[in-house]
Symmetry: D2
Subunit: 343 residues, 4 copies
């Protein structure tokens, strides 16, 4: 059998561990071969592929962040004649099954291909942990660990200078990284997109701390956080391609507002890209490896149109449809649990 | 309400995060108070307790390994008049609910108390991840991370010197740490108690590597690993208190055997206590905190005779009986997945 | 003997290790006592002091970032009657010697006090490594380590997305952090205040990489970097208290310029406060501890008007004057060595 | 010009950074080429060499532990006709200068070659930091960091269980790793080869702690530590090749003795090979890179018969003779400084 794989969307620690899992399983358990398309869907469209051999070089990638195949952000349905071209290229390369590794957008593309007769097994990838139908995605634990390390460091700086420190972490649509890093880092307030915030509440929480003799506070803010209607004026960051107004630098905007209202010395740290690069944590290496092994197996058992997914202790195969339906958001109960630790 | 807690058995990263979760939740959500008994069950028997205040000092413990309460290995049913003494001490301290945090032995003690009318909510604790009924226990992720870091370092040493390197990790009865650290660390063979090993198979795997041009191998061994009947002579380490022969230093014994049979330069590293100490990973801090919050809540909702347990994304309450019935061992399927990556 | 200490200026990993070194040495080797003034010079002016005991609590601070005494940015000569007040407060507390721990500004204050008859031993502190007369200052190694970790992570992200990544690190006046983190992190270009840059040169270096088949580049920029006269238009960030124009966000300004000139996809990461907080590296703990021990000894041997300083393998005492004369800048030779590795 | 390099002796984090520094400098600053001999001197004898190209692959090795050239423990003067063979092989390969990277034994070999007319520039390598004439050697900081991380973790385990914990670190002849890791890790006693120990003194230090209410102790032991004459009976580990009695497991021997004398619960952790493998610290990457750059430069300026060495902030060239004369031991003064922090 001949399997093809590609990585698409933002990079994510663990992508290479998935690729290694696919190659090693295909080779040692089934005697199959694997090719990789470069730079995401665009490499499949342009037939840029590399043979992936089951040798020492594939072992070395386990620890490497990023993706040895490169990635891209174009979706296959954006291409004119995309489907025909893809079918032709896969046939030309003698590919029997395709394993696209990517986030919600990528899995939508995978579903479109699957609906059109291409044998596909998807692997969910998002550091944001927002793919529906799976308990965790790889890369998330690494992102949370990096953010938690940063928060650990900021505690002592904030305390030494009697400051309120705002830490902006990734999470445009969901607050999983903010929630977990905030809980792990002992944040005194956490702001996530799922729960519109009121700066007055944050100020009140800081006030309580200062009144009890504490001299600093740590507030973790997901980049996509938004205020409750009418509670705070936002500086606009322009409009996006669809004409929607966008707001960036939410951490800094909240910092400015707290400083203006409460008079604290407030500083902002934006963690940025370091959350998505570098060596994956042990947790992410194990999860990503299992995804790769199970995706390769699904190709050989003919379980197409599926996505590998973690459910409790098991890797299951769920329908592509389930994975792309909706984003997995932070449920209110989880936010309530975090709130018990605020202040 | 007045809650008491204690930590029993081997120490484990995240114990303090549980304690913090209990204290913060009890105080801020319910206005309840918490006392801690020192050094495990023995502190409860001897009525050595400390008040745990909901202040900055409780926040600082989130990152600290070990347990601020100390721990001990005695079980309550080993004490003559143990039950009466415990009941008297709890009544004397005005305690309405008890949260013992510990492994299988501790939870058995908790069940014995619960069966005898004491309101108990257990929190499972084991770096070995072998408590039944919960997907993960805190401390396990930290132990796997420490072991994985060590394996990462040993790769380059082994390769530079053309050696087979044996890494002995914790796991007397189950192989979870070996399995996960071995997978995360890219081990070329993993030996766990659940799957009796044959040194001939390990030698064969190493041989394959050397024939393919590789010059080294990493073998991860759980301390409780045992050979298949008749495949290898073990050096006895004496007999235990029950008269059973014990075998220690399994890593070194396997190393000696490989060296004797295959002539490789083989070295052993025993990771030991560093796997169970120190700052918990972000994953363990979140899990331990959630356990603490939910245990405190269960006390207030009157859900006694239960244990908090992770099931997928949720913290559930399961019966104490379910948690202490059997050890959770590595299922054959999980070992097969790891095997796909060997060699 | 009675020693007083205080920490002044920006916080820095290792401050607590110095304090511990002073307290332990004073107590165990000389039977002396130590008091700490809070929040820098202002605490000395306002006589806010705490007794520092030689017990387990002082041991625990070895690993903690920040400073248990708090810090401040006011200088003693800014206070009207500052000298009289300080003399009165020290006399009132029975203090025989003062150990101020701080950067160039703090040591200038120390010199002023010393010139006015107060027995002072200074401890140099700067994560920027720019104090004259000492090979290294504590905190610098931690800052470089944090920045290097971040650069390690950004390599894989940049490579996966074919990007030029700008990493802005601390260093308003000197480029030591940029130089060392850039060398350790394998940066492809390093920009420091001591060597005015020309964006055309950076673009050329990136071009060379892309022509050789590489698909990404990492550029490390010290925050105080400045372009060669006439090579680039800067966006002003307003004027400072002295009426000098200030330029912030140099990383982003360089990124914009490269993107405009060369058309690469360029992203910026500003590391910010995480470089100065958190647990010190082993190197910094040893250096800071030695500084503390030697400062306490100097008080007892009557070597006042001095600063502890690392020279090769030894801790020396140098004159306060030597330490505050000029900033220690990156010599051209060191930058040439780094350049050999560019591209 | 054509430069050859080889790595000899035990592996050490930073070896690859030296190689990279040589290759990049030779190529970009001088247009020279570099070959590497494999597996130390033996590869030079057997003429096993690889061309080292100045491309992306050489950049990737900066972070890798071990040595891409492999290493060996044979010395060139052990070979019959060694000198003639080496001269012939170097001539055959058109090599103009040789850079051996290794410890005291390797540098002795380098001196022997240099004395016999081969143009040699040595690079000192030892995680033990015991090469004479240089302030620090690369690999040492990484070893100290790994050991310090381990000690940090053992504190909380020891404290939770009221134990004395013995940590055996590397250092057969000198105590630098034990001294620095012990100071950085806040050890309560440090035992080094330069200062024969008396177990009675260690017990006394632990006793003082327990009397002051502390419940645990950390003792760091260099593997080559030896007791004061007549203070303790050692278990023999046999005799070495020269007929000298050897003593191994010094950590465990001290542990047994403390347990026997003082009745504490004492445990031993032997850190072993993890101290010498894996990614180098930022400090070691910078130092090793500078060594490589300066060694390549010395070849081009004709400064042969020399060794690169760190003196304060500078890389100097010292005579090979100075480097191999004696081991650099921990001076008594440095041990006294550490003692101020004991207990």
């Amino acid at each position: 059998m001949r399997i093809a794989t590609l990585t698409s969307g933002g990079d994510c620690p663990g992508l290479n561990a998935v690729i290694r899992g696919i190659v090693r399983t295909a080779s040692s358990d089934y005697g199959s071969t694997v090719v990789g398309y470069q730079d995401g869907w665009v490499g499949l469209m342009e037939d840029r592929r590399v043979q992936l051999y089951d040798d020492e070089s594939i072992d070395r990638i386990l620890l490497r962040g990023g993706t040895i195949l490169g990635t891209g952000r174009l979706h296959p349905d954006r291409f004119k004649n995309g489907l025909d071209q893809i079918k032709a290229n896969l046939a030309d390369a003698g590919v029997d099954a395709l394993i696209p590794i990517g986030g919600e957008g990528t899995l939508k593309g995978a579903k479109w291909l699957s609906d059109n007769g291409i044998p596909v097994v998807g692997v969910p990838k998002t550091i944001d942990n927002d793919v529906n139908g799976t308990d965790y995605t790889f890369g998330f634990d690494t992102a949370v660990s990096v953010a938690t390390d940063a928060i650990d460091r900021l505690h002592t700086t904030a305390e030494s200078h009697n400051r309120v420190m705002i830490v902006e972490v990734m999470g445009r649509h969901v607050g999983w990284i903010a929630l977990h890093a905030g809980m792990a880092g002992g944040a005194h307030y956490i702001v996530i997109p799922e729960q519109p915030f009121d700066v007055a509440e944050i100020c009140k929480a800081m006030e309580r701390r200062f009144q009890m003799g504490e001299k600093y506070g740590i507030v973790v803010v997901a980049e996509g956080a938004m205020p409750k209607e009418g509670t705070m004026e936002l500086k606009s960051g322009g409009v996006d391609q669809f004409g929607h107004e966008i707001f960036t630098g939410m951490g800094q905007q909240i910092a400015d507002e707290i400083q203006a209202r409460a008079g604290h010395d407030v500083r902002t740290t934006v963690l940025g890209h370091i959350q998505r690069g570098g060596t994956p944590t042990a947790y992410d290496r194990v999860l990503a490896t299992r995804y790769g092994v199970h995706a390769a197996r699904a190709c050989h058992t003919g379980d197409f149109g599926k996505v590998v997914a973690l459910k409790g202790e098991h890797i299951n195969l769920i329908d592509l449809e389930e994975a792309v339906g909706t984003l997995k958001r932070v449920p209110e109960g989880r936010y309530r649990t975090a709130q018990a630790l605020f202040g």
